[in-house]
């Protein structure tokens, strides 16, 4: 019986992230539009876009190989698995033993690797441009992420997310400078990883300035729909990750009843809304930076992560 309940909760979590992801994207767009005194499209517009794209004909470039057709599904699968590993509304999920920070980073890293391959596969100059920029960002963002993971793992004694969350809920955590540094660094990495302003502009139509979108330029139809959904999932994943690690309050504990589970869902959606609002406000108040300034931005994230780790070694109480 307990196994069945666990399975239900785990599956609910997987479906929840899938269903919520486009809504979050729509919410951020709406919030940005309101901040610019525009009405903005409906919250449901991303769902409609996905439906529209999935019904449309898929056009393939003549030069493209089988990789180009397979990659959208690879990216989607990797991102979905990563997103469903992060405890969202309930801790102690069935797959918790695998919900490891390193595993999530590896999944996202492989999704990125395949996307960059797809960008170069068709042989257009924009795809190559996008792939090279994406890789430049990745080489800077991934070390920063690893440093953040080190900080958390040293504190919690584990890289498993549920244990990190449990540690954060426990009285042992206290007020630690390292955690503050890790939070700021993780937010910066999340912005870069999701191609948000100031690193990349998801709404731009200027081919020459694109990073993420440049790799997708040749995609259409259901392939594009799947990649768009994966991009939404990734944004959701990072917000969930920040929420799970730094704001684990409100999560349903293992063995909790349906009411607690529902309360957990409510708390989770509330956290996402706050995160989405913050993202919209941040993106509205800043211009995109020059491509080569990205290294400064992510270098700062790396330094913060490094400082967090070092502080732990220097002083056990900070």
């Amino acid at each position: 019986m307990a196994v069945i309940l666990d399975l239900v909760v785990q599956n609910a979590q997987m479906l929840l992230v899938l269903l919520l992801a486009p809504l979050l994207t729509g919410f951020v767009r709406k919030a940005k539009a309101r901040l610019q005194r525009r009405r903005g499209p409906s919250l449901l517009q991303p769902y409609r876009d996905l439906l529209r794209l999935s019904r449309k004909e898929t056009v393939l470039a003549e030069e493209s190989s089988w990789l180009f057709r397979v990659i959208p599904y690879l990216i989607f699968a990797a991102t979905w698995v990563a997103a469903s590993l992060v405890p969202t509304f309930a801790a102690g999920l069935m797959f918790n033993w695998s919900a490891d920070l390193i595993a999530i980073i590896a999944l996202l890293g492989s999704a990125r690797f395949f996307l960059a391959l797809a960008g170069m596969d068709v042989g257009t100059s924009f795809g190559g441009l996008g792939s090279s920029r994406e890789m430049m960002i990745a080489t800077l963002a991934e070390p920063a992420t690893i440093m953040i993971v080190f900080t958390l793992a040293l504190l919690a004694g584990s890289t498993q997310l549920s244990q990190v969350a449990a540690f954060m809920l426990s009285p042992a955590v206290g007020l630690r400078v390292s955690l503050g540094l890790a939070l700021v660094a993780l937010v910066m990495v999340a912005i870069a990883e999701n191609g948000r302003i100031p690193i990349d502009n998801p709404a731009t139509h200027l081919e020459l300035t694109m990073v993420h979108e440049a790799m997708l330029l040749e995609y259409s139809g259901r392939h594009l729909a799947v990649i768009e959904l994966a991009a939404s999932l990734k944004l959701l994943l990072y917000l969930s990750l920040i929420a799970c690690v730094f704001l684990p309050w409100g999560q349903a504990q293992p063995g909790a009843g349906p009411a607690a589970q529902l309360a957990g869902v409510g708390a989770y959606i509330g956290k996402l809304a706050v995160g989405g609002l913050f993202l919209a406000w941040f993106e509205t108040s800043i211009a995109k930076m020059r491509v080569f300034r990205v290294s400064d931005f992510l270098g700062a994230a790396l330094m913060l992560g490094l400082l967090g780790t070092l502080l732990l070694f220097v002083s056990r109480s900070l």
Binding site: H205, L206, E207
Partner: protein, 502 residues
């Protein structure tokens, strides 16, 4: 020091040209003038073809004189101006495409407007030839280790005008940019030939839609110069009012769009709202958002009602309240300044050489504004300043626009205060004649030259967009920048494709 008038005095007078002199010159005289042009004595104002002649319009910057010289091309050739003075090269390539007249000694004989899709070679020349094959086009080479090319356009990811840009890049750094334009060629010069004044005025107003008032104005002024039409004072003032409203709308749009290109959508949204206000007031006062076909030879086609005056005054009040906070936002947003300061440098020497008008020229220290320097009414009686900066970067071009918005708001108020009463249109009597005019559009000085036959039909009409001198400078300004900064630099120039491609 001899003036431009002295320099062309030896040429053969033609007779009925207005308001500036035109002289027919021989081979040697043409060459001598081109040498002086290349030495920086004059500024190139325009170079255009006719069936058997080429015309060269020159501006003497110090006393602000304009003169035109014409060279008869007896054997279908003329001495190249571009050989010594690069700003003329694209004009010569167009003359060769349209009229089949060959510039002898030109360093670049590739086609420019003709992409081999017309079915004709030299369609406006004395002997058009049938042609079917598309033309091969060789881009200029850029060689070196790791240098590769990025072709962009003519179809872009956004809804913008068509143009092809060939980047030679080393990683992200631009080694060379070459533009290829002509995709928006509509054959305006051919359509003009034989058109009556009404149709020709409509055509002129559609050369570049965002400058429709300026184009209609420059065309009408050229017609009025050719036929010695006395325009009623109220029409003259209403024209200036429309021209300033057009400038305001475009500058608001540009300032927002430049910020939007660095993903600062907040400025874009607010500036877009301001632009929309201007367009709506224009629609309610003149019956068309862009005021298309409202300026016509002889005057204007609609009068401004008294409640229109109030609406425009309200608009000025709103803009005066809403604009300064936006300027402050622009100036105080560090991430925005980080992108615009120092990007896309247009060298002052180059800008002077090309005679760039408008904000491109004035942001790089070329203090030229046709409203003052080739003053036409009512601007000769109005008070306004011509903001000039020396930096020549994207930021300077934004600031010139900001300052011009302030000037235009003041001008609109002055025009409303001084608006005379009376009729708004004078009859235009048919007759033979030749006229020229220069008008300051929001991009810079637009030149019109036209010749009318005895029925006042257009024999030849040439409209020169300011972008002719700005596009080449953009190529130079992007050199050394990174590819990702090109859209920003391009938007700060905001050259017209349509006006250039004709």
């Amino acid at each position: 020091m001899p003036t431009l008038a002295d320099a062309i005095a030896a040429g053969l007078a033609i007779g009925d040209e207005n308001p500036w002199p035109r002289r027919a010159v021989d081979f040697d005289h043409w060459r001598a003038l081109v040498e002086e042009l290349a030495a920086g004595r004059w500024t190139l104002l325009g170079l255009w073809g006719d069936q058997d002649a080429v015309h060269l319009a020159l501006l003497d910057e110090a006393p602000r004189e304009v003169a035109v010289v014409t060279h008869r091309c007896a054997s279908g050739v003329f001495p190249s101006v571009g050989r010594l003075h690069p700003p003329a090269i694209r004009f010569e390539r167009s003359i060769k495409d349209l009229f089949g007249l060959e510039p002898i000694g030109s360093p670049d004989l590739r086609p420019w407007l003709d992409h081999g899709r017309w079915g004709l070679r030299a369609p406006l020349g004395a002997r058009p030839e049938l042609a079917s094959a598309a033309l091969e086009y060789a881009f200029l080479p850029a060689e070196g280790e790791g240098v590769h090319q990025i072709p962009v356009g003519p179809v872009h990811a956004g809804v913008i005008e068509p143009g092809h840009f060939r980047f030679s890049v080393n990683g992200e750094a631009v080694v060379r940019l070459e533009e290829r334009l002509g995709y928006a060629h509509k054959g305006v010069e051919r359509l003009m030939m034989g058109a009556d004044l009404e149709r020709a005025a409509r055509l002129a107003g559609r050369v570049s839609g965002d400058s429709t008032v300026a184009y209609a104005l420059v065309f009408s002024r050229a017609v009025e110069a050719a036929l010695a039409v006395e325009v009623p004072p109220r029409a003259i003032w209403l024209r200036a009012l429309m021209a300033e409203l057009e400038r305001l709308a475009n500058h608001f749009g540009d300032i927002g769009a430049i910020c939007n290109d660095v993903a600062f959508a907040l400025m874009h949204a607010h500036c877009g709202a301001l632009r929309e206000r201007v367009l709506r007031v224009a629609a309610s006062c003149f019956g068309h958002r862009l005021m298309m076909d409202r300026v016509a030879p002889g005057g204007v086609s609609v009068d401004l009602a008294p409640e229109g005056v109030k609406r425009i005054r309200d608009l000025v009040g709103t803009a005066r309240r809403a604009f300064p906070p936006l300027v402050e936002l622009y100036d105080n947003t560090a991430s925005l300044q980080d992108r615009t300061v120092g990007a896309g440098l247009a060298e002052p020497a180059l800008v002077r050489r090309f005679g760039c008008g408008g904000y491109v020229g004035r942001a790089s220290g070329r203090r030229f504004d046709a409203r003052r320097d080739l003053a036409y009414p009512p601007y000769d009686g109005l008070r306004f300043e011509i903001p000039t900066l020396e930096e020549g970067d994207v930021n300077a071009r934004v600031w010139i626009r900001i300052r011009e918005v302030e000037q235009s708001l003041a001008l609109v108020e002055q025009i409303l205060d001084g608006l005379p009463d009376g009729p708004v249109r004078a009859p235009v009597a048919a007759g033979r004649g030749e006229g020229m005019a220069v008008v300051e559009g929001f991009r810079g000085d637009i030149l019109a030259y036209l010749r009318l036959d005895a029925d006042a039909r257009i024999e030849r009409c040439h409209l020169r967009d300011p972008s002719w001198f700005q596009w080449p400078v953009l190529e130079a300004a992007i050199g050394g920048n990174i590819v990702a900064d090109f859209p920003l630099c391009n938007k700060s120039f905001n050259c017209s494709y349509s006006g250039h491609d004709l």
